[in-house]
């Protein structure tokens, strides 16, 4: 680790400092708003403080804490399903040439090109018919539309730099298919898998319109509550909910950062992506 940091040039340090301030600075006004009672232009700091926004956020009326759990559950579920679908799909796209590959790639990218609302309005009727509208499961499934492209794209990038011969070697040495996956494939794709999962989790975490339409208001996630107050101009409550809203992102980033910066021979594939 030490040698790596010493190796950073002045420019790298500058960009690191910029990145950190870019991430942290916008949060300072939010944090201040959440404890302010009145804050008038052009004052630099609020003229009076209050914890009222926080007491509302933690009250049962606001439903912020149940919504936090609900949002996390949905995002985790959407991530798990994305992994199950995205890893084999990414492997097929990254490793093999087959007829119609270009068409499939475009289809996978389509949700990133077509606006979500156009898809969601049609899907609402389908979900109602299937009895999935208004349920957390339905919301989880509809979140796959924006999350899957990220997962599949990252995984196909990972697999395009992956040599499946290593699996064949493991198999010839007596490993079962599961063992070969666990001891050979998984370590090699793990950093990419982490990045894909992180994307997926955060994309699901930030969904508004899909959740609103498919959840029908009965599946309350944090973005829905946040938008209620943001559009009503309640900066204090918006600030307090925002502080809670960004927590999982920050936590995940810290956890993932360990995987991504750790020195690991299996990472070599990643550097080429």
């Amino acid at each position: 680790m030490k040698t790596r940091f010493q190796g950073l040039s002045g420019l790298s340090w500058l960009s690191l400092a910029l990145l950190i301030s870019w991430l942290i600075l916008p949060l300072i006004p939010l944090a201040l708003w959440s404890v302010s009672r009145s804050w008038f232009f052009p004052d630099i700091l609020p003229s009076s403080y209050s914890l009222r926004a926080w007491s509302y956020v933690f009250s049962t009326t606001s439903e912020v804490l149940p919504a936090l759990g609900q949002t996390a559950l949905i995002a985790l579920g959407a991530t798990c399903i994305s992994v199950i679908i995205g890893v084999p799909a990414g492997r097929a796209l990254g490793l093999y040439q087959f007829r119609g590959k270009a068409v499939i790639e475009i289809l996978i990218l389509a949700p990133m090109i077509v606006p979500g609302i156009a898809v969601a309005l049609g899907l609402h009727v389908v979900f109602l018919k299937l009895g999935l509208a208004g349920s957390a499961i339905g919301v989880m499934i509809v979140h796959l539309i924006p999350t899957l492209p990220y997962m599949v794209l990252v995984m196909s990038g990972v697999f395009s730099n992956y040599n499946p011969a290593a699996e064949a070697q493991a198999r010839s040495l007596g490993a079962s298919p599961l063992q070969a996956f666990y001891y050979v494939t998984l370590p090699a794709i793990l950093p990419g898998l982490m990045i894909g999962s992180l994307f997926t989790f955060l994309v699901s975490w930030s969904q508004y319109i899909l959740t609103l339409l498919i959840g029908g208001g009965r599946v309350v996630t944090l973005p829905l509550l946040l938008f209620n107050f943001a559009s009503a101009g309640r900066n204090d409550i918006t600030g307090a909910i925002s502080m809670i809203y960004i927590l999982p992102g920050v936590l995940l980033l810290l956890v993932a950062a360990r995987y991504l910066t750790g020195r690991n021979g299996n990472l070599e594939g990643m550097h080429r992506i």
């Binding site: 009326t61 309005l121 609402h124 109602l128 029908g216 107050f229 559009s231 101009g233």
Partner: protein, 415 residues
Amino acid sequence: MRRNLFANSVIATRLAAFLILLAIMAPLMAKAADKQSFNNWEEVVEAARGGTVNWFMWGGADNINEYVSGYIGSELKDRYDITLKRVGINDTAEAVNIVIGEKQAGVDDAGSVDLIWINGGNFRTMKQGDLLFCGYHSLLPNNKLVNWQDPSIAHDFGLPVDECEVPWNRAQFAFAYDSARTENPPKSIAELIDWVKENPGEFTYPASTDFNGSVFIRHVFYHAAGGPEALLGDFDQEKFDAIAPKAWAILNEMEPYLWREGETYPNAIASLAQLFANREVALYFDYDPAIFGINVENGIFPETTRSYGLQDGTIGNTNYVAIPYNSPNKAATMVAANYLLSFDAQYEKAKSDVWGAAPAIDVSKLDDDAAARFAALPRHPAVIAPEVLAQKSLPELHPDWISAIEKGWQENVGN
């Protein structure tokens, strides 16, 4: 913008639903909605016991949320064993779209929306689309507290209510100013025009896409038309073409003297509130004057905020709660709607530290004791008394007029 988006989205939903229905669901027959019928109130209350009410309402005010989830929720639980679930939304059209989608999918008796806080164009959409449960007013005991002779209650933006919704609040447009900064705020649209020229940069109003911006523009329209009388009733293109140029001329004449020389207009009333709070502009206005007191209590507006109506009157409306036709909990929802109209609920709501909303019931129909309690309610100094405001009340226009004015403003003033 959002309203247009939802208008398009309705069309998109219909198209998509039509195709999907044709393709896959044609063989399935939509179940006919069986209209629940009750003979008397006791039957309704009995059927309501243990029920749930999913109430979709704008969720951007913590005090209103507290009143509904806290006070109304616990009273309904204690009195009738009904569970109230408040669903906060950003725009009433979101709830309307859910019901439209359900109707298209043939969900006729298991809808997800039981009650909607509604009025105006959204009510029109639902009533004309047969999306509402109607004809139950005679069952509600508290219906007798409502003055149905008052045309501003019996008509929702010009459309007869026809027992399809229950009044909840009254609101009337008013201006607010900081008495410590502004001594003589303009008391009529004519005075405002001069005042804006004398105080450049001190006034602006939200674009016509905003609910409150739109009602301000209607006041100017009434002024240009010499009063609302000529504009009542169905939309009339000839009348519109005669009056509109005058209104646009007034607004265009004001434009260079507005905040930021009128280069841009706030896109939402919340932005105007922020400008007023920051003392960038001297005047604020809102369809619900209770918000002035709430903003002072929240530390957003200065303590010296005061409010007033216009000499020629300001536009007032009633807002309601309505039950979608496919609500699976009609009995419990009727009990909830009836309770909202009760003296207790309306009195609690009128307290300035709870909400300060003007009652939808006619206080003179209450017994003396209850009426006296209403009269004795302390007023917030920032909020003009509703009865003073109500002395000069102007009617709302038919939604077709409103959309024509909103569209005309965008083409002629806000471009």
